[in-house]
Assembly symmetry: C2
Homo-oligomer: 258 residues x 2
DNA sequence: CGATGCTTTGACGAACTTCAACGCGGGTGG
DNA sequence: CCACCCGCGTTGAAGTTCGTCAAAGCATCG
């Protein structure tokens, strides 16, 4: 009922164990034994919540740890000269960030909190040491990275092929699915990012995003009031989003809309 | 002198050992010991060369192995309904493909040879087993995946922010760097992919790609004759490509053009 | 209550796509 | 060996989508 969770529950100081964390099924420790989990937990750090606008890290910072969002949301972006930036992703609860920095040991992106946000940090060196004994940890990370690569390919299709309307529809639908997976409503949520960020991420001008929102609302597809979104027809939204590779649904791999 | 290597050297049947392979410094076995390498080599399979137009795998195929290009080139693409497709990447010698399939165990993309191409296959199950004993293999794969994620982010910047001119310049410059790294000429090479594929990959119409080539040639930036490219001013090409995150050059991480 | 930043709306223009036609080269078959 | 055909690439003109510019509305905050 409360889409913006962090504003309701002050989950700040408590050190919840991974197995009690609601992200349990989603972030790293999936499919590992009780004993393995305990050992992993020992190295996981919980940062105190970061406030809106604070940076988790900046482009160029040395890479120290992988972060997992527990609540709130994070924006990743590549700063370019003159304050110009390219938003490369938004990270919702249960999602990792910083995977692009492992290879170079330097963060290519900056990461900024869009609202009050709490994250888990997994110090990478310790993770590596532990992985020598528990290869399952490496395997899990590889799986998550593979998923990330796949999702970036999906976004490349969006940027390369889709119209403005399809882009925004695909974006909203994606948010819906990700919230749904987290146990939140798929049809009603707050967008923590600005129109500017959305446009940047989708390769569109702010004005175009705004116009599309208006059009969607006029069509009765959704209701939008500032950052509050209510989707009235999720199915139609998916159709508007155009073809997309989907991975859910067991073995069948579909590229069609339905 | 012969940029199109595969057309000159029939490296087909011989089973070169990894340590004798010219890709040694680039693909998986970087930084592993003699003994580790021998064990890895035992599970690597060399496929006989695939011909132009042949598929390595198709979208929806079960994922069995990671492939490394030894010579030639491969195009990855997501087929969409009605023969429409989105090209997601080109793979030159020394580069891996199929990393997006690990998580789902199903290939989201198809992979088609752009010319006669030979690849190494690393059966993933066996790779996993071996990795339990040699964590360095996992680490190396994670590094390569991280690099892939970073490169896809770079391409997202291209698709989201750059003009047609910048896109083609960035594309050609990227090819240059990748060939250079392989010991080929950075300033003269054959483009194995069609204008259509290039446009598709860059999010442009074929005609736009063609016009940009013409413009570049009129400007004296390069000479292009069908698929044969000679770049006369690599530096100017890099400038035309616009800002890009660059990872080479030690610790300093630069986002500027120079 | 004014200032500020974000969002929306409208008018205009530019960049790129689409449509159409032509040229070129490579492969095939007579 | 030549002619034909077909796919690919180029070029020109018209059309459309989206970006840019400008201005006004509206919440938030000091």
């Amino acid at each position: 009922m409360a889409p913006s969770r962090s504003s309701v529950v002050p989950l700040s100081k408590r050190k919840i164990a991974c197995k009690d964390c609601s992200l349990f099924q989603i972030c790293l420790p999936v499919g590992i034994s009780e004993e393995e989990l305990e050992r992993l937990e020992k190295i996981i750090q919980r940062r105190r919540p970061v406030k809106r606008g604070d940076h988790l890290y900046n482009s160029g910072d040395p890479f120290r740890s992988i972060c997992a969002v527990r609540s709130g949301s994070i924006k990743s972006y590549v700063p370019t000269e003159k304050g110009n930036e390219q938003v490369t992703g938004f990270h919702l609860p249960g999602e990792l960030l910083g995977l692009d920095a492992i290879s170079q040991k330097i963060h290519p992106c900056s990461a900024k909190a869009l609202e009050t946000t709490s994250v888990c940090e997994i110090p990478y060196e310790q993770f590596e040491l532990l992985s020598n004994e528990l290869p399952v940890l490496h395997r899990q990370l590889i799986n998550l990275m593979s998923k990330e690569i796949f999702e970036e390919e999906t976004h490349m299709v969006l940027l390369g092929k889709k119209s403005a309307e399809e882009r925004l529809a695909a974006y909203l639908f994606s948010i819906s699915m990700r919230y749904q997976r987290r146990g939140f409503s798929a049809t009603e949520y707050y967008l923590s990012m600005s129109r500017n960020d959305i446009g940047n991420y989708l390769g569109l001008a702010v004005e175009t995003v705004s116009r599309m929102f208006t059009r969607f609302q006029d069509d009765g597809l959704l209701t939008v009031e500032r950052k509050h979104i209510i989707i009235h027809n999720l199915d139609r939204l998916r159709h508007l989003a155009g073809a997309m590779p989907c991975k859910s649904g067991g073995n069948s791999f579909c590229l069609t809309r339905s």
